[in-house]
Structures are given as C-alpha cells and as structure tokens.
C-alpha cells in the first residue's frame, strides 16, 4: 500500500468544488477519496485489534469478523462496498479509532470494537451468505448497519429523536444466519428476524427509506435506530412513530421538488448522494428553541445529516444543501491540507453567537455559499421575497467570512485556491440586482448580528476603558479606537451587572443610529460604548446612552 500512487484531483473538478458546486464527476472523486480513507481506517483498526492481545474480543474475534466481511466482499462486492461507504460504518470507524486513541468515550470498549462483527454480519446478510458469529447487544438491541436493529426483548423505548440514552445493559448474542433468516440468542431471549425483509418480523426495526421521483428517482435512509447515527458517541434507538415517518416522507418529496438548480452548480444538490437523514427531535433537547431549523453532520459520515424536521420542503432542501456542503468540504479536508488551525476560537462568524476557529469559519463559508445559491435559484424561480432576503443575507455573510479567511487565516496554496473560488462565486452574486428594500433588510440583519456579537464577545482592554472614562469626565476627546485592540470576553456578557445586556444595547444603538446618523462610527467598535457605560457607572437610560454615544462618535 505504501507504493500506491497518490490521488490527484483534476484541476477543473477542484475548481467546480471551490466555486461551491461540483459536477457528478467532481463529487465522484471525493467519494474515491472517502473510500480510500475508509479502507485506511479499517485496515488501521484491524491491525490495532490484532496487535493488542489485551483488547476485548481478541485476535480470534477479529479474524472471525474479517473472514466474514472479506467473504461477503468476494461474493458480492457491491453489497460490501455499500456497507463500507455507509455513513453509519464511517461514523463507527472514526469513533472506534478515537476510542482506541482515548479521544472519545462510550459504552464498554468490547461493545464499540465488537461492532466489527455487526458490520461483517450485515455484509453477509446483504451478500446472501450464511454466517455464525457473536455480536454485541446493547440494552437488548442488536444493530446491523444499513439494515436496522433486532430487539431481543421488549426494548422499544418509546422515546423519539436524538438524545437516547442507554440503561447500560451490555452483552453478547450468538448470531446464526441461514439464508434470509437471522437467529439471535443472548442466553436470556432468542429471536428470529429477516433483515432484508422490510417487515422483518416483530422483533425487527428496519431503517426507513425516503423516496422521491423528481427530478430523478432518489432515495435516502431515515435512520432512527443505528447506534452510530450521531456525531460520535453511540446513542440508543429512538424510533419514530408512523405519523412522524409519514411527515418525513412528505417533507422529503417536497424538498426534492424544490431542488431545481443543476446539481453541479453552487446551491444545487446531488440528491442521490444524500445517503442518510437522522431525525432530530429538538423538543427533547433542553435549552434549544424548537422553532429554529437545526442540523448537524460529521466528516466521518459523508452524505449523512442530522436534521430537525423543518417546517416546509424548501427549508429541508436548504438544510440538505447546507449539510451536503459540509460533506464535500469534509472530504476535501481529508484529501488536502487546506489551512493551519491553532484551534483558537477567536473569529467572527455571522451565523454564530460565539467566536469560531478558522476551520469552523471555512466550513461555514462553504456551507452558506451553498445555501445562498439555493435561495438564489429559489428566488429566480418563485420570486419569493423571503428567498430573495435569504439570498441577499447569505451571500453577504459568506463573503464577509471569505474576506476574513483571505486576510487572517493561514491557508495552504490549495486552501487559497478554494477560498478564491468561493469568493469569485460570491462576488458574482453580490453584483446581481435585488430589490433595494431586500438588500437594505439583509444589510441591516447582518449589521445587527455583528454589533450584538461584538457586544457579547469582545471587551475593550482595561487601559482603553480607563482612558475613555478619564477623557469623558475631563471633557476631552475619546482616545481613538485604533489605539487599542479589543480582547475576547472571558465571561459571558450577562455576567456583568453594570454592563447593558448585549441584545438590548445592540437594538438601542442601531435604532439610535437610524435616528442620528452621526452615531454611525460607534457601530464599528460598539464594545467601546459598553466599556464606557461600565467605566462611568452610567445607568443604561436612553438619555445617558445618547450622551455617551454622541461623545464616543466624535472619534470612534
């Protein structure tokens, strides 16, 4: 393997991806890279398991699983490839290696690592081979990746959405596969299921499949049971009820119907590459408002996305575009070093309330360029003012971030080529006309976010605060903003008792600027106003704020 030539991506395909889109060929190349990565990770895992006699299961179990998996791969290569490239197996591979490395946690190691037997057994099921093995049981559940889960007892939790927890009952079952019938026995219960049969038996929960016909036939798994469907650590099944599945079916059809942009264009989507949607019940997640659209994905699971059911098809389509952009960029990051990332979370991202690291910025810029493209196409097709606003907002936000990346990130030559491509796309879109009122709304929304973000996350240095207070009390001019660089807030702004709440101060300031344009310079460093309020001990009454803002605006 050390002698295998390295992959080399044709420049035209890279530039399609850099522009935010990507033809079927370009995305196909990413998949080749993902497959090579999966093979490397699997081989690494097998070597580790075989080399370390102290690991649970031991070499004998590993050899048994590999024998089954390789036999399935010989008998039905396509079936084994489907397993290898499935998001669930990608996530498991990453998680298992992190368990061995000590950078993740989860159930007993024998359960996470023993999942290799489940992968092998699933391959045998799909290849039509008989098999005998031993397989981990989690709270009475035996998962078979890409197929579903068998239940050895009445273990249906009744819970829904992500966040399922385990009761910590782990064991093992003897698995005997003969033709389509899989017999499982953990010594307490025994069941027989038919994993390839969608009904599968009373003890079988198959993965749901969502299908759509337009623009071309497409399908994706709706996975509410596989333990490795989340971002890293395994989670318990959280089966949707029939009505919820039906809702997802309808929403998927509606979403695919909205995806009218050519798939290779920024904002388009290769629907057939969306391999898996994991339903996420936001209502079950404490602290998250349920009205918002939530989604997430991981680079380990190309083509998978965790999604809270959006309110309509267009929103789901936009979310699918967004998350697939992350998949594409994740695959690019596997193939090419794009930037140096210290991991410091210090950058402004216009879609986040907290500071981000530079990799997060790049992911955001890439994802929201796709989203901007989606709403651009949607607006062109429907004339929807809401779509126009979203296009205007996202193109502006993403362009702000590509500027940050160009000027402040340590990009490799390939990374620079990527950011240049995104920037070209966004600059082209920024020249496209939109109604003035829409552009003004978008600018206002972007400005509002930036002002609040600065108030929430940045602080004037103590010496600047002191200098401002002294000058104000002495009747002098404010020290120039350029004299002091702000610092990241250590504590959340709400911890300050004398500091105005960031959201309220942002609202007040923007309204004040609308009334009195001479205040505008304060918008660039609004944290100076907060510092002045704090340093002078002024109550945050409008009259006091006007007095301080007017003074500060003379040299913001």
């Amino acid at each position: 393997m050390s002698e295998a030539p390295a992959l080399s991506m044709p420049g035209a395909w890279f530039d399609e991806l850099a522009a935010g889109g990507g033809s079927a060929e370009a995305v196909g190349f990413l998949l080749e890279g993902e497959r090579a990565r999966r093979l490397l990770l699997l081989r690494r895992l097998l070597d580790r398991l075989r080399a370390d006699g102290d690991l649970p299961g031991g070499a004998e179990a590993v050899d048994r699983s590999w024998k089954l998996l390789s036999a399935a791969a010989r008998a039905q290569p396509a079936a084994a490839e489907l397993i290898l490239m499935s998001p669930q197996v990608g996530s498991w591979l990453g998680h298992a290696l992190r368990r061995l490395h000590g950078s993740s946690s989860g159930p007993p190691l024998r359960v996470d690592l023993g999942h290799l037997a489940a992968v092998a057994l699933a391959a045998c099921v799909r290849a039509g081979l008989d098999a005998d093995t031993e397989i981990p049981v989690r709270d009475g559940v035996v998962p078979l990746p890409t197929l579903g889960v068998a239940r050895l007892n009445d273990s249906r939790s009744g819970g829904r959405g992500l966040g399922g927890t385990s009761s910590g009952d782990y064991g093992a079952a003897v698995a005997r596969l003969r033709g389509p019938a899989l017999h499982l026995d953990d010594g307490r219960s025994a069941v027989e299921v038919r994993p390839l049969d969608r009904a599968g038996g009373s003890a079988w929960d198959a993965l749901h499949v969502l299908t759509a016909d337009a623009p071309s036939p497409a399908w994706t798994w709706l996975d509410d049971v596989d333990p490795y469907r989340d971002l890293d650590e395994p989670i318990a099944p959280q089966r949707l009820d029939d009505a919820e599945v039906e809702q997802w079916r309808r929403r998927f059809v509606e979403a695919v119907d909205q995806l009218t942009a050519p798939p290779g264009r920024p904002g388009g989507l290769h629907v057939e590459q969306v391999r898996c949607i994991v339903p996420w019940n936001v209502d079950a997640a404490p602290g998250l408002p349920s009205a918002a659209d939530y989604s997430a994905s991981t680079g380990d699971a190309f083509g998978a996305m965790i999604v809270a059911l959006p309110q309509d098809g267009a929103s789901l389509a936009a979310t699918m575009v967004h998350e697939f952009q992350h998949s594409k960029l994740g695959a690019l990051l596997h193939l090419f070093p794009l930037l140096e990332d210290s991991g410091r979370e210090e950058f402004y991202a216009p879609w986040r309330s907290d500071p981000r690291h530079v990799t997060g910025l790049l992911h955001g810029a890439y994802a929201f360029t796709g989203v901007a493209g989606f709403w651009r196409e949607h607006h062109a097709r429907t004339g929807s003012p809401e779509a126009a606003f979203r296009f205007a907002q996202r193109r502006l936000q993403a362009r702000l971030v590509t500027r940050t990346l160009s000027t402040r990130a340590q990009l490799t030559p390939v990374g620079r080529r990527l950011v240049r491509g995104l920037t070209r796309t966004l600059d082209g879109w920024l020249r496209e006309p939109l109604p003035a009122v829409i552009r003004a709304r978008a600018r206002a929304a972007v400005r509002r976010h930036r002002v609040e973000w600065r108030l929430r996350n940045l602080r004037s240095r103590p010496e600047e605060r002191q200098a401002l207070a002294l000058a104000f009390h002495a009747g002098g001019a404010p020290v120039p903003g350029s004299a002091f660089a702000p610092v990241l807030a250590v504590e959340p702004a709400r911890a300050f008792t004398t500091r105005p709440e960031p959201s309220a101060l942002a609202d007040w300031l923007l309204e004040a600027v609308a009334q009195r344009p001479t205040y505008r310079p304060v918008l660039y460093r609004p944290e100076r106003l907060a510092a002045l309020v704090e340093a002078t001990g002024s109550p945050a009454r409008p009259a006091d704020l006007h007095r301080l803002t007017a003074w500060l605006a003379t040299r913001a």
Partner: protein, 58 residues
C-alpha cells in the same frame, strides 16, 4: 503542495486505492497508515464536526 498551479491538477497525499478490493485489504503490504488522516480522525469528533446547531455548528 507547493507545485499547485491554478489550472493544474491538485495532488493529494491520500493513496489511490480505487483498484484495491475490500476483500484484499488485509493482504496489502505494510506499512499501512496515514499520519495526517490518523491525526485528523483522532481529534475529538474527528476534528471537523459541523452543522447548524448551537454548540456543534460551524
């Protein structure tokens, strides 16, 4: 990566395994490994876990 040119191909350091069948994975010659990919996957959540959710997002 220094030889990247704007119109040229973009070389990766990931081996081209398109011709390698899954069934033959264990017959490949060692050393098998890829320090950059391994370092990437070992980072918490694989390093590049993204999404649109507070706390997890980009």
């Amino acid at each position: 990566m220094a030889d990247v040119i704007e119109s040229g191909a973009v070389p990766s350091d990931v081996p081209d395994l398109a011709g390698v069948a899954l069934a033959d994975l264990c017959e490949l010659v060692a050393p098998v490994g890829h320090p950059r990919l391994m370092a990437q996957v070992h980072r918490p959540r694989g390093g590049a876990t993204m999404g649109g959710e507070p706390g997890r997002a980009e």
